[in-house]
């Protein structure tokens, strides 16, 4: 399988590193596995015989790779013209129009190229269109990394809860707000101070509204509602309350009664993101930057997954999606 990686930022680079380190495992499933191109907004490097991943990891800018570098080369053109059959799309997230990821994924699926992405934007904006396109063109569209990072949520439901009907999902879907609320819980700091510390540690953006106003969690609720509960949900359908108004007094009062305040996303009859009281002995009560997802199903009843929702751990989800595509493709070829 010939792979294109679009996006050479933090995640793209970590993914190339994982491909390099796990090459033997990848080649065990597909002996022809190779990354033939890596691109970013400034251009791309291309080698039909496969890029030297070790060499690629040593460069800061793609132009330093030299061989096969095309300055200003467009990623869309690369998808359209290269012989790739798997696109890993890891461009920055935009939840308003989904670009540039949306056009890249759309172009790939139309061409029959499998897609793996950790980018929420395109799925929040056009879940129905993209999944229909993938089905029509007989290709995979896997997005494990979009919700709760490294937590294998979609894979678990797809592979291990095949016969279950998922009735309700709730969870801590944003690590930044969990970090802030955990600081307020353990160190009795104010929201403002906890937020400042999160910003200093680079856990949140300079403009933290995407996290603290619950927008990021609402995006994940939208994806979960569409992907697992098969709803036709849009981001605007999620009732959203952030954590700015949560005071230290509220956190302390909750703690005295054995509750922790957590920003919880819920997919039930209603879709909601709001601060909630979580009993300290409930499996969802995890702290720091951890994420946790609690599934309620008709047969298994309750299943909870806990793990890291952002950062380089997300590469685990992307790599698993890539391996899933390789395995399924091998199975199809054998039939």
């Amino acid at each position: 399988m010939k792979v294109l990686v679009v996006g050479f930022g933090f995640i793209g680079r970590e993914l190339v590193k994982a491909f390099h380190e796990k090459l033997a495992l990848l080649k065990q499933i597909d002996k022809d596995f190779g990354v033939i191109a890596v691109s970013n907004s400034r251009g791309y490097v291309y080698d039909e015989d496969g890029l030297d991943l070790g060499r690629l990891l040593k460069v800061v800018e793609l132009s330093e790779y030299r061989k096969g570098y095309r300055s200003g080369g467009s990623s869309v053109e690369l998808i359209e013209e290269s012989p790739a059959n798997l696109l890993v799309e890891a461009t920055p997230t935009n939840i308003t129009h989904g670009e540039p990821g949306l056009s890249l994924i759309r172009t790939a699926l139309i061409k029959g190229i499998h897609v793996v992405t950790p980018n929420k934007g395109p799925l929040v904006v056009a879940f129905k269109e993209l999944t229909a396109l993938a089905e029509k063109n007989g290709c995979e569209l896997l997005y494990e990394g979009t919700v709760a990072g490294a937590v294998p949520l979609f894979s678990l439901v797809r592979e291990c809860l095949r016969g279950d009907r998922v009735l309700r999902i709730s969870g801590i879907l944003n690590g930044t707000t969990n970090y802030i609320l955990s600081k307020m819980y353990f160190e009795e700091t104010s929201f403002e101070l906890a937020l400042k510390e999160a910003q200093e540690r680079g856990i949140t953006e300079r403009d933290p509204s995407y996290d603290v106003d619950g927008i990021d969690a609402a995006c994940k609720v939208t994806i979960l509602a569409n992907a697992i509960m098969k709803r036709g949900t849009r981001l605007g359908d999620v009732e959203r309350t952030g954590i700015r108004a949560v005071t230290q007094e509220a956190v302390s009062l909750a703690k005295k009664s054995n509750y922790a305040v957590k920003l919880i996303g819920t997919i039930d009859r209603e879709l909601e993101v709001a601060p909630k009281l979580v009993p300290t002995n409930h499996p969802l009560c995890v702290h720091g930057t951890l994420n946790a997802v609690h599934l309620e199903t008709d047969l298994a009843k309750e299943v909870t997954l806990v793990g890291y929702g952002a950062g380089k751990e997300t590469v685990s989800a992307i790599l698993n999606d890539v391996l899933t595509v390789l395995k399924r493709r091998r199975k199809t070829q054998q039939q």
């Binding site: 709730s170 949560v246 509220a250 009062l253 909750a254 601060p275 909630k276 009281l277 009993p279």
Partner: protein, 156 residues
């Protein structure tokens, strides 16, 4: 629907069986029965039952049948199952309005106000809500707190 039914039975053999027949005939499922033989009063023994009837009508028919058999009914009350709900409210709001005027059958069983260290008041409420109307009560509480511009943090 569960009911607490207390009967006064004559202290003679066979009276309990006789009294249970109308309950079974009217679809009642007996969950518990306490035959208080140590408390006879003027030849009568109190028998306390918890019975699950399909509806209030079944209970009414049972009571009618028991009365026609000469059995006295000391008590017949519906047992309402309640759920404890803990809430935290942040902001300024009229708690009386919240608890008394908008939601029926909700009892405040606990109340705690935090030491005010910021401009926003913070109150923890522990409520007892009929189990079957918890969602409705929470939706109503949410609506009122929104109107009052307060943040309601409910338990999961």
């Amino acid at each position: 629907m569960k009911f607490d039914l207390t009967l006064a039975l004559a202290d003679r053999p066979g009276q309990l069986v006789r009294a249970l027949e109308p309950i079974a005939k009217n679809g009642g499922n007996i969950i518990s029965i306490i035959h208080e033989r140590e408390k006879p009063a003027e030849g009568y023994v109190p028998v306390s039952l918890v019975v699950d009837f399909p509806s209030k009508q079944n209970l009414r028919r049972t009571i009618g049948d028991l009365k026609s058999l000469g059995v006295s009914i000391i008590k017949s009350e519906e047992i309402v199952e309640t759920t404890g709900v803990t809430l935290i409210l942040i902001g300024k709001m009229d708690l009386k309005k919240l608890v008394e005027t908008r939601i029926e059958d909700v009892r405040v069983v606990g109340f705690e106000v935090s030491a005010p260290t910021s401009n926003e008041a913070c109150v923890k409420l522990e409520l007892e809500v009929p189990t079957e109307s918890v969602s409705k009560a929470l939706a109503e509480l949410k609506k009122v707190s929104k109107e009052e511009n307060a943040l309601l943090i409910s338990s999961i």
